[in-house]
């Protein structure tokens, strides 16, 4: 008897029992079901939710692989054991050593994210007797990419449980949630363990353990540097040399070039550093028609507009170097796209169809505001300068309101037609 018919018999056996959803979830992973249409259209298009979600995962895989190499690269670079790679194809970047460190740190994050998240999903499906829905396939992939490499696994597990239960299941599961579950997990981590998430020690593997020792390495992100751009920074001299006194802003410029930021050879959350690969992923999602180009484009426009406004404020002399906002306000507007994770948020987070605006016009407004508010939070909140996830969560809440007004315009048109007729 073939595997196919064995599984079919098992499916018939489990039918109607508590375990049916759990079994079906595994079964449909292997085989597209034998379900046929009844009532309604007799034929159906090829796409299902699994294929849709799978496409997003495919777009994320390059970011994950790059993230593994980068984890190792940042680790060895901070320890001073390797030379800085020059550009995307730099010799010291794509090495087996880097990948090994990356795999050791990043794969556990992936495993915990999927393991814990899917366990919660299966549990809810069995309790509530509905099918296991595919939403978590993407969330589970996004989560490891938006956390720092050195986050403790237990912390991640707690956050995933919180995010899936409170962010999604209490609303009724996939398709019903108001907030993006991956960002709910990120927000939970940020607010529950702020010292971990906003410090400068979690972004590079090994930085935490070595803090306070003579070998201490800095794991600051570029945003961290820029937020403190005007402040003095003293770097202990090496090899008996005298201490170097500089500012955070100058130090960042010294450490990382624009091309490093674009290619992604910088510290940061696992998957968000390479703007190049994010753009590749975005093009793939737009081409496959899975991701909304409207949201991606309008988010970028929103971020650029806010950046321009801040640049204008600086140019007009309203903000001087003494201001604590000066550092990030002075960043040329286009650079906001290559520092931090605005692009990652725009491509993979803001486009989540369930939590985004659902009308095409609404998507323009929704995306624009995400970009706009992201940069605003980034500049005005120096304690934790990454504003993208807060901006997206905020707009998640407002998305139904945006849709409401867009739909009302259509409704009003219909009302007007009626009035013209009756007048």
């Amino acid at each position: 008897m073939s595997l196919k018919s064995k599984l079919h018999n098992l499916k018939e056996k489990y039918k109607g029992t508590k375990m049916a959803p759990a079994f079906n979830a595994l079964h449909t992973f292997l085989y597209l079901p034998n379900e046929t249409t009844h009532g309604g259209t007799h034929i159906k298009a090829a796409d299902d939710l699994k294929r849709t979600m799978n496409t997003v995962i495919m777009a994320l895989v390059p970011c994950l692989i790059f993230g593994m190499f980068n984890a190792g690269y940042q680790h060895y670079l901070a320890l001073g054991q390797i030379e800085a790679a020059n550009g995307f194809l730099g010799a010291s970047f794509w090495t087996l050593d880097n990948l090994l460190v990356g795999a050791m740190t990043v794969l556990p994050l992936v495993i915990v994210s999927y393991g814990v998240g899917l366990a919660v999903e299966f549990l809810f499906a069995v309790i509530k007797g509905h099918e296991v829905e595919e939403g978590y396939l993407v969330t589970g992939m996004l989560v490891p990419l938006i956390v720092p490499v050195d986050i403790p696994l237990w912390m991640l597990a707690v956050a995933v449980i919180f995010g899936v239960v409170i962010g999604k299941e209490v609303f009724g599961g996939t398709g019903m949630n108001i907030l993006n579950p991956a960002l709910t997990i990120r927000a939970f981590l940020f607010f529950a363990y702020p010292t971990w998430m906003s410090g400068d020690k979690v972004w590079v593997h090994g930085a935490k353990e070595m803090a306070g020792t003579p070998d201490a390495i800095s794991g600051e992100t570029i945003l961290g540097y820029y937020a403190k751009a005007g402040q003095e920074l003293t770097i202990a001299g090496t090899n008996g040399g005298s201490d170097i006194v500089t500012t955070y802003g100058d130090r960042a410029a010294e450490l990382y070039s624009y091309s490093d930021m674009f290619w992604g050879l910088i510290p940061g959350s696992v998957g968000e550093t390479s703007k190049f690969l994010i753009i590749i992923g975005a093009l793939f999602l737009i081409f496959t028609k899975i991701g909304s180009w409207r949201i991606m484009l309008s988010t970028v426009i929103g971020a650029l507009v806010m950046g321009l406004i801040f640049n204008g404020v600086v140019d007009a002399g309203w903000i001087t170097e003494s201001s604590k906002f000066y550092g990030l306000m002075d960043v040329p507007f286009w650079q906001h796209l290559i520092i931090g994770s605005v692009l990652f948020g725009a491509v993979y987070m803001a486009t989540d169809p369930v939590t985004a605006a659902q009308t095409n016009k609404g998507k323009w407004i929704y995306g624009f505001l995400i970009g706009f508010i992201s940069i605003m939070i980034r500049v005005f909140n120096p304690a934790y300068p990454e504003g993208v996830f807060l901006a997206i969560l905020l707009m998640n809440v407002f998305a139904p309101t945006i849709d409401h007004y867009v739909v009302q315009a259509n409704v009003k048109k219909r009302m007007k037609r009626l009035k013209v007729k009756t007048a």
Partner: protein, 449 residues
Amino acid sequence: MSKDIRIKKGLDIKLVGEAEKTTIAAKPSSYYAIKPEDFHGIIPKMLVKVGHKVKAGQALFHSKLDEALLFPSPVSGEISEIIRGAKRKILEIRIQADATQEYQDFGKKDAAKMSGDELKAHLLTTGCWPFIKQRPYDVIANTEKTPKAIFISGYNSAPLAADFDYTLSGKEAELSAALTALTKLTEGSVHVVTKKGGNSPLATVTDVTSHKVSGPHPAGNVGTHINKIDPVNKGEVVWTINAHDLVIIGELLLTGKFNASRTLAVTGSQIEKPQYVTALIGANIKDITANNINLDNTRIISGNVLTGKKETPEGSLGYYHNQITAIPEGDDYEFFGWNKPVFDKVSTSRALTFSWMQPNKKYDLTTNTNGEHRAFVVTGSYEEVFPLDMYPLQMLKSCMYSDLDEMEALGMYEVAPEDFALTEFICVSKQPHQKIIREGLDLMLKEIG
């Protein structure tokens, strides 16, 4: 005022098994069946009993709510069986056909010389009224209301649909008579929409408003035309009639006979020689498809693949249908079907689906759902195939939570389930859109009327 309509949003689903332009006559069926279910919302009150003799055109039953609304027998013969289902609901009335057909004589009429009321009475007594459907609600027209306009679609854009340019040719006199009659029934215009660049006999009829339409399916759907030409507002009624039913009305006026014959397309990949067949309403599908169908694991549909009704080989041609489609059942598992590249199915996305590379390829689609039922997740995809000026996703949701005010505001009066057939086809969450809309319309009909 004539208008050219160009539809951009939509999708032509190209399937294997398009009917060749040759027509044969179906062999007469031993019995013909009328199914009250074809008339949505009508509760039948029988006028005949098993064993009664009827002539073609003689009423079999009337609507429980409206005694004047008669439903005729398509053939002359003897009532052989009345099949009932749960709670004695009448499922099928079978009429054993006579060898030579006798027609009830309703008398020749010249529609041009008749008043609207006379015509209305004539259509009701002859059993032609059920051909007239109304929007809102997509049900048989309410006899007490006068429509603001009447819409006829002379273009069938559904997959494998019968080509009206072919099936209606030679019926100019009947069409003209029927359309003249319709102009008497409305204060507004009778809109006839034909395919741009086509050669429809409907386009030559005078004293109606002609329009040309182009673009992908649902360019031929009457709902699309109504939305683009003269949308239905609250409190208004428009009527729609299938072009092939105009022929029956026309012949009735010209000859006094109710001749339920129509030319239908027998299509689909399970049909050995797809072609046109003339048959009567209620004819048996096994006679229509005699020696021409592969019955091995086949889905037989009366109508097209998007809106038609599932039938057994012993089933009968639906009252409003002019097409029989036979496609393979898809009741098999497909290994890793959800993530492997797909070349032999239609998709509007490009998520490892490659139908965008071969826009002219003809597909042999099965009835597999290609996935399981899920909550609504994806947004923005319905709008690509939905040309009406409305928000389809929001409308479906308003039907699901039965918010009458919202349904009304979003434009529920203008739609019929068939307008949501394409969104249902492409739906990633495999939601039953047509059923949702039908239930929404039924609720509105019940609550608002």
